[in-house]
């Protein structure tokens, strides 16, 4: 599936996204979920920088693997209002 990256036609000045943290990342960040507001046009990389500025969260990788709305996306992906942004630690299923 293609991650939709275009904006709505309506201009917005800010977007709110839900950041989710799992497993070891949840332990580092100290939260399962954080709502964060960013300027419209912000990227995943910019969200990561905001999250890493929290106490303890600087132990997250500079460029963690991130999934937006359940699809892995590159750091330059532009966030849309309402996106779910999951920080994905190295996986160990099976």
């Amino acid at each position: 599936m293609q991650q939709q990256q275009s904006h709505d036609a309506t201009p917005v000045t800010a977007v709110r996204v839900r950041s989710l943290f799992f497993a070891s990342y949840r332990d580092l960040v100290g939260a399962e979920e954080i709502e964060i507001e960013l300027p419209a046009g912000s990227t995943v990389a910019e969200l990561v920088a905001i999250v890493r500025a929290r106490p303890g969260a600087d132990a997250l990788p500079d460029a963690p693997v991130v999934a937006v709305n359940h699809e892995y996306v590159p750091a330059e992906t532009v966030l849309r209002d309402g996106d779910e942004v999951a920080f994905i630690p190295p996986v160990a299923g099976g």
Binding site: M1, Q3, V65, A86, I88, P90, V91, A92, G93
Partner: protein, 145 residues
């Protein structure tokens, strides 16, 4: 196709029965089981955690992709989450196919991709009371987009 993340015990027989059809001559079932050691250290149990909605979608994507590349009938994948004891099934993958070669290859492909792509994590509980998230692998994100 049947993909599920569940906190209930996995019944391998049920998973197999979901894939069989009269056109298939081979079923390969893979079960991952909690074992009593890891890297030489005694393990008493595991806790699996998942991004459940995304994990199910990834399993569906992987199953559909594997089904399109091998001559198989059907695939079912179930992964357990929560606390598991030694001997419990953590994952079951059933593949039915007209012929065995495709069934084996597709089964192997599903488990390898599951381990590389699906957002599931594993916390080991050791005999000495210690616990730790298992070192995983950086997910292979190439199959997206």
């Amino acid at each position: 196709m049947f993909c599920l993340i569940t906190s209930d015990p996995i019944d391998p027989g049920d998973i197999m029965s979901r894939v069989r059809s009269d056109a298939d001559g081979a079923i390969v079932l893979f079960c991952g089981v909690v074992r009593d050691h890891d890297a030489g250290r005694p393990v008493v149990g595991l806790r699996y955690e998942a991004h459940e909605a995304m994990a199910r979608e990834k399993l569906e994507q992987i199953s559909a992709d594997v089904a399109s590349r091998f001559e198989i009938g059907d695939i079912a994948v179930v992964h357990r989450v929560g606390d598991l004891s030694v001997g419990e099934v953590s994952v079951a993958i059933a593949v039915a196919a007209p012929h065995r070669d495709a069934a084996y290859k597709a089964s192997r492909e599903v488990i390898e991709r599951l381990k590389r792509e699906v957002p599931i994590w594993k916390r080991e509980r050791y005999a000495d009371g210690d616990e730790a998230w298992l070192d995983g692998q950086v997910p292979d994100t190439a199959s997206d987009g």
